[in-house]
């Protein structure tokens, strides 16, 4: 009998080009996604060395970080414009397919990959972007790389990679009403810390994961990097195949059935071993809000901000104090007392159609609090179109949200969507680092539903009560 394997080991073994003692494995890359921020120096490296892109057919580029969400045709900042133009020139010169900012396929790289069916189970997928872990939701081994590695993949379609340790992140039971995939991943990071995944590739398993939709699975896998894991994935199942069926780059007809049979065989075998296992009870997870300056600094909406005096270790105490000071919060303050002035619904974590639908359900019939500036930024042009077809844009607009064009936007404020110094934002993005949404900005990570409720209330509220009573 064969030794049972987990999906990470299976996908890895299928991609080893070369193996020798004392070296990492040389791994073949099936899909290389490229964006404007982390690629210019890589293309320049190719040019300087007279090298070509080895497999333009396995390379796909988009522009997302610098694009304006007010007008797709205008980029005011000349340096942003130059970066955008450089990508276009590089794609032309090296023969790489590009969804330009006016192209109907354009959007955030981690939203359009799955949408177009480029993302498929069992593929190795890389991008010069740490949230590449998103694509793991399909059972792909997908991870972020630096620009030198981008150049390496462009030139060779391979990467030298030491086999990762594997971890089973087991989520038992089911999430309660009003508790989302975002709350689950935040709770996991809150419980085990921002570096428990370092050196590992994680597989999410368990009943709660099986019942998530593809878009919810993407939210979970997206934030694997915030736990330190370069990649996090989920074994493919019927939910995966159903999502992929009829997508543009997915095989059709007979070929689809053959692909499904192959994909099914990738799922982790019964009894497979991992280097580590952690477990969490889904039913105990409550809606989460981050209070500090990394995603592990999060608490349930029903809880209070921690007190550094309750910490024994000096550097831990210091970390909490510094975070509270930056965030302008008092130790022991209930998080539901915290007032906000900005709401951002968007980012590669939470900008897909179902995210917007759920936020719209909360907002329907309500008004955004007058002191709050709230924006919705769909993840892609196609998400935007689909949402408009359903009238979701109207619900947001009537409530007082700004309805914008697609892009990375206020997640990292590389374009002109910026939270001002001292501004406080309820954000559906993935990082609450100092200055992430603008110099001096204060970010609280939440689910789309919690962000919508906060927009109405002007402070954090428990969305479970909000929707149950329809009042604040």
């Amino acid at each position: 009998m064969q030794i049972p394997k987990n999906i990470i080991q299976k996908v890895w073994q299928q991609h080893v080009v070369h193996q020798e003692a004392g070296k990492p494995d040389l791994l073949f890359i099936d899909l290389h996604l490229v964006h404007e921020v982390t690629s210019p120096q890589a293309f320049e490296g190719l040019r300087m060395n007279g090298r070509k892109v080895r497999r333009p057919d396995l390379t796909y580029a988009t522009m997302d970080h610098n694009v304006s969400t007010r007008d797709r045709n205008v980029i005011k900042d000349p340096i942003s414009k130059k970066q955008i133009d450089t990508l276009k020139e590089n794609c032309q010169e090296f023969g790489v397919e590009l969804s330009d900012r006016q192209h109907p396929d354009n959007g955030i790289v981690h939203v359009i990959g799955p949408e177009l069916g480029l993302t498929q189970p069992g593929k190795t997928i890389v991008c010069g972007d740490s949230h590449t872990s998103t694509h793991g939701a399909f059972g792909a081994l997908a991870f972020g790389i630096g620009t030198s590695e981008v150049e390496h993949v462009l030139a060779t379609q391979t990467l030298w990679q030491a086999p990762p340790k594997t971890m089973n992140v087991k989520v038992n039971g089911n999430l309660g009403t009003g508790v989302t995939a975002k709350d689950l991943i935040l709770a996991i990071i809150g419980k085990f810390g921002v570096q428990f995944g370092t050196g590992y590739v994680m597989e999410y398993t368990g009943e709660a994961i099986r019942s998530l939709s593809m878009e919810e699975r993407m939210t979970v896998c997206n934030m694997s990097i915030e736990a330190g894991a370069r990649a996090g994935l989920i074994s493919p199942d019927e939910t995966t195949f159903e999502y992929l069926k009829e997508r543009r780059h997915v095989p059709k007809g007979e070929a689809f059935l053959e692909a499904v049979a192959k994909w099914r065989a990738l799922a982790t075998d019964e009894g497979a071993q991992y280097d580590a296992v952690v477990e969490i009870e889904a039913s105990e997870v409550e809606p989460q809000v981050t209070w500090g300056t990394n995603p592990g600094m999060c608490i349930p909406i029903t809880a209070s901000v921690p007190n550094p005096d309750h910490e024994e270790k000096a550097n831990k105490k210091d970390e909490i104090s510094r975070a509270l000071q930056y965030m302008g919060l008092e130790a022991g303050q209930p998080i539901s007392n915290v007032e906000i002035d900005h709401v951002f619904i968007g980012s590669c974590t939470n900008s897909r159609l179902s995210d917007l639908r759920k936020a719209a359900d909360v907002i329907r019939g309500h008004k955004v609090n007058p002191k709050v500036k709230a924006i919705v930024v769909p993840g892609s042009f196609s998400v935007k179109m689909a949402a408009e077809k359903e009238g979701i844009d109207q619900i947001f607009k009537e409530a007082g949200f700004e309805w914008r064009e697609a892009g990375c936007s206020m997640c990292l404020a590389m374009n002109d969507d910026i939270v001002p110094p001292g501004g406080r934002c309820a954000s559906t993005s993935n990082r609450n680092f100092e200055g992430r949404q603008g110099n001096g900005s204060r970010t609280h990570l939440v689910s789309p539903e919690m962000a919508a409720a906060a927009a109405v209330a002007g402070r954090f509220v428990d969305v479970r009560q909000f929707t149950a009573q329809g009042v604040l």
């Binding site: 490296g45 450089t86 972007d129 740490s130 030298w160 370069r230 990394n294 550097n315 590389m414 200055g435």
Partner: protein, 194 residues
């Protein structure tokens, strides 16, 4: 890439955990299309106030750390974004070696590609180096060949590094050049997986 074998330099302490790459190089500086010139933006919002003046209370700005080439930090250094602009900034500023309790994977990888050695040390070792560097102008010698760190006060500890990154750093190799020697293997793989 410049080879790195033995390096002696002044230590600059950064006594913080979870230093993310957004702090190392804030996003507004990621728009450049060049690989050079990022050092001036290193730890920008920690080094400078809103008016662009040096913050006196930030350790790195102290005179005794001018010209430092070894950066020492706590846990999970370089977490967050995959931006290689972070190691570019660290290197351009003048650092050749980082010593920390632990690193984020992508950051660590990016450092090797740029000839920066990342040494993982215990909390005790890091804190002891940190204390000395805070109190005096403190110099360390890092010998990559023998994988040992020493000072002139009797400190000596060894560190682990995998054979491959060690070889890359010692020789300052261009990795793509190395990989292209495996062209036949890559082509064979492609043929078998058409």
């Amino acid at each position: 890439m410049e080879p790195l074998r033995i390096h002696t330099g002044v230590v600059c302490p950064l006594n913080r955990n979870n230093v993310d790459t957004d702090q190392i190089i804030p996003k507004q500086f990621l728009k450049r299309i060049e690989r050079s010139g990022f050092g001036q933006f290193l730890f920008y919002h920690w080094r400078f106030d809103d008016d662009g003046n040096l913050r006196e209370d930030f350790s790195m700005n102290h005179r005794k750390y001018q010209g430092a080439s070894i950066l020492v930090a706590g846990e999970n250094f370089g977490c967050g974004s995959s931006r290689e602009h972070a190691p570019w900034a660290i290197q351009d500023f003048g650092f050749k070696v980082v010593i920390a309790q632990s690193y984020a994977d992508i950051f660590k990888n990016n450092c090797v590609k740029n000839g920066i050695l990342t040494i993982q040390a215990s909390e005790e070792q890091v804190q002891s180096i940190m204390r000395k560097a805070e109190n005096e102008e403190y110099t360390l010698t890092v010998n990559l060949e023998d994988q040992v760190v020493t000072d002139n006060q009797g400190l000596e500890f060894t560190f682990d590094i995998a054979p491959y990154p060690k070889e890359m750093l010692l020789n300052g190799w261009d990795e793509i050049g190395v990989t292209l020697n495996y062209e036949d293997k890559i082509a064979a793989y492609e043929l078998a997986h058409k």
